[in-house]
């Protein structure tokens, strides 16, 4: 037993390690990245031979973890919330195959969209897949959730979803650890057809999953993550899920006067909800993310119970909670300080000075001068900042890989030329298949793959396609004379503009690869080199 100061993400990693983890599979994504980075840094993980290399995307991570579970060992797949969209096929179907070794999928949600395209709530995925879902409320619970989650996973042969949110992922607090457990031995599933989801087998497996639902709910009602806490003032009862419970405790330092159902595990434990409903005529639901619990409690007809929360405007419908929002909802007087606005302006994120993307955007903007604006489809990464002034260089950012495929659709609609601008890591995440579509459709698009040799946006993880991009494009069928590597530097500006102009006019698929290392990772590796 040790006391450690850990981020929520690190508590998950340490918890998994101490619970006998054999492999952590992930693609980076805020706020989940530090889970895998912690395992990668951990000397214990190294000593025990725990696998923790980055996967090409969340789907490959999910499936690799499932493979390790098939072989009887404990594995986690970690991703940001939108990553679970990418991994959803594997995730939903893993509920049908079931797990063999303990399998936990960690989804890190980002309410308020601090660094994301949306604020989707992963608890819906848990319900969708019909698997137990744990929502730890603090760092200690995050640690404990991994022990408990693996045990639950193995007890029922089911994957388990752990859902965290930004403020837990990136907040540090003390965690008491347990004695580490040994890793599982290699042990294949008894039924060698369990993972063969042919319709006849899948139907049986699905029945078995349906049959487990009652037990899952019973586990929820007995779980330490769910707790009904009585209070003297029963005029209102409170349901507080995940982090919301902390904010509630914050505003009532001497204890909440109302009965509280603290929710940290799903399916929602109906016996506990019923007890709260029986005791209290009025219910307030506090939850971080979507009104997931609230909608269930209201039911389709709503109005049978006096319920308040995000859906009736007692709390904002969107965005993360904080102590003041919760305090206000509960009628507490809030003493905000004075805001100073006259000498404070916003400081939006920007590309680093000297970033290779800057030179690429400047060349691209010039190459496109003369064409009507609005034809550059882009993607997700540092380069998305090219949408902002002074560049105003790109016109879309939707989901990883969508630049190439959207350019195909737009070109086929008649927007010629169409340009796709995609980062190297995003390209190997989800761009290669789109490029294959483009080649097969012989569509006139120009794909610019920004090769800065790293996954920069999330902190400079290695890029899975490092050194292989040209070969990948060739392999997909782009003719070699239309795969052109340029060096995005000021001094090459004129030449780069020429290359771009020429390829943009080419009536088929062409690929331009501006190749220059991210100056941040370059500086980091110089520092490393100096140290050693």
């Amino acid at each position: 037993m040790k006391r450690m100061m850990l981020l929520g993400d690190e508590a998950i990693a340490q918890g998994a390690l101490d619970a006998g983890l054999s492999g952590a599979y992930a693609y980076p994504g805020t706020p989940s990245t530090e889970i895998t980075e912690y395992v990668q840094r951990s000397p214990e993980a190294k000593a025990r031979g725990v696998y923790a290399q980055w996967s090409a995307n969340e789907k490959t991570a999910m499936e690799t973890a499932l493979g390790m579970s098939y072989a009887g060992k404990r594995a986690i797949a970690c991703m940001k919330h939108v990553g679970l969209n990418v991994a959803a096929d594997g995730f939903i179907n893993s509920a049908i195959t079931g797990a063999n070794g303990g399998l936990i999928v960690v989804a890190a949600d980002d309410p308020s969209m601090h660094s994301s395209q949306n604020e989707q709530d992963s608890r819906f995925y848990g319900k969708f897949a019909m698997v137990p879902t744990i929502e730890p409320g603090n760092q200690q619970e995050a640690y404990d959730a991994m022990h408990y989650g693996f045990d639950l996973s193995e007890k029922y042969g089911t994957p388990v979803l752990v859902r965290i949110t930004t403020r837990l992922a990136h907040s540090r607090s003390a965690v008491t650890t347990r004695e580490p457990r040994m890793q599982n031995d290699l042990r294949l599933p008894e039924n060698k057809r369990q993972f063969v989801l042919l319709p006849a087998i899948a139907r049986k497996n699905y029945q078995s999953l349906l049959g487990k639902q009652e037990a899952f709910e019973k586990e929820s009602s007995e779980s330490a993550f769910n707790r009904l806490i009585d209070g003297p003032d029963r005029s209102t009862g409170i349901v507080a899920a995940g982090l919301a419970f902390n904010y509630l405790m914050e505003i009532f330092p001497d204890g909440c006067p109302h009965p509280v159902l603290k929710v940290g595990q799903y399916p929602l434990p109906r016996v506990l909800v019923k007890r709260l409903f029986d005791a209290c005529p009025r219910i307030i639901v506090l939850e971080e993310g979507a009104p997931f619990v609230e909608e269930m409690l209201r039911g389709v007809l709503d109005g049978y119970k006096d319920i308040h929360g995000r859906m009736d405007g007692l709390l904002p419908r969107a965005g993360e909670l904080n102590p003041n929002i919760v305090g206000q909802a509960l009628g507490k007087e809030i003493r905000r300080g004075e805001s100073i606005t006259d000498v404070v302006v916003s400081r939006p994120p920007e590309l680093c000075k000297g970033c290779p993307h800057i030179d690429t955007f400047e060349a691209l903007n010039e190459a496109l001068r003369g064409y009507e604006e609005g034809r550059v489809f882009s993607d997700i990464g540092c380069y998305t900042l090219g949408a902002l002034p002074p560049f105003n260089a790109i016109n879309s950012c939707v989901d990883m890989g969508a630049s190439i495929t959207m350019a195909i659709g737009a070109a086929e609609a008649g927007l010629v030329p169409s340009i796709a601008v995609i980062g190297d890591s995003t390209f190997t995440h989800s761009g290669i298949t789109g490029l294959l579509d483009a080649v097969n459709a012989a569509v006139p698009i120009t794909v610019v793959i920004l090769d800065n040799d790293t996954t920069a946006m999330t902190g400079g993880q290695p890029s899975p396609g490092s050194g292989k991009l040209t070969d990948i494009c060739l392999g997909v069928g782009v003719p070699s004379e239309h795969i052109i590597v340029i060096e995005p530097l000021k001094k090459n500006h004129a030449a780069n503009v020429e290359v771009m102009k020429r390829e943009i006019q080419h009536p088929g698929v062409s690929v331009i690869i501006p190749r220059r290392e991210c100056i941040q990772t370059a500086a980091d590796s110089r520092k490393e080199a100096k140290k050693s």
Binding site: S115, E250, P323, R347, P349, C352, M457
Partner: protein, 200 residues
């Protein structure tokens, strides 16, 4: 004992190091602690903040409630003001470095900004860059500012010094000594604040 502190700056200015030093000292004292960090998108030259909460009773929320902070420590003057509404009205202190980090076209006029800060009821504006260069090295600005704030952190000063020794130990004795000098120079400046004309 309970202190809620907001740390403010721009990506790369070392506010997390300040958090680590205070955090270490607090944990050594056996206090409860929560410290939220900003990771991701906002680190590309954008605004960065960290919430640091220390208390002798359990800390629940990872976030300091707006209007609940005892102290804002800024490594950049405009950034320190961005979170002014987090200070406890009538009680909280704002202690910030003076040198603006200008990476936006519409950065406010320096003098206006500095005057705004100096005229606040409980604020210290410190030229951490000059003091760091004089007493230690240019990188120690964050520790100078921590020194200036050290009387408001709620921990014994010697605990903070000790935390600096531990946190910087792996960088060698010279770095430890430089940071201790930076810390003490910051403290000395804060001690003289208000007693000498505030033109530093």
């Amino acid at each position: 004992m309970k202190r809620d502190i907001i740390l403010a700056g721009v990506g790369g200015q070392g506010i997390l190091t300040i958090a680590t030093v205070i955090g270490y000292a607090a944990v050594e004292r056996g206090l409860f602690l929560k410290q939220s960090e900003v990771h991701g998108m906002s680190q590309r030259g954008g605004e960065v903040q960290s919430h640091l909460r220390i208390s002798d009773t359990e800390v629940f929320s990872d976030l300091v409630p707006e209007g609940g902070a005892d102290l804002i420590i800024g490594v950049e003057p405009m950034e320190s003001l961005r979170y002014y509404s987090y200070l406890k009205p009538g009680e909280g202190w704002l202690i910030t470095n003076k040198k603006p980090f200008v990476n936006i076209p519409n950065y406010p006029d320096f003098e206006t900004l500095w005057n705004r800060i100096s005229s606040l009821p409980r604020a210290i504006l410190i030229d951490g860059d000059t003091i760091a260069r004089e007493h230690a090295n240019a990188r120690a600005v964050n520790i100078v500012v921590l020194g200036a704030a050290s009387d408001h952190v709620g921990l014994p000063v010697e605990d903070l010094r000790n935390a600096i020794r531990v946190i910087f130990a792996r960088k060698g004795d010279a770095v430890v000594e430089a940071n201790l000098r930076a810390f003490d120079a910051g403290r000395a400046f804060a001690g003289s604040w208000g007693k000498v004309p505030a033109t530093a």
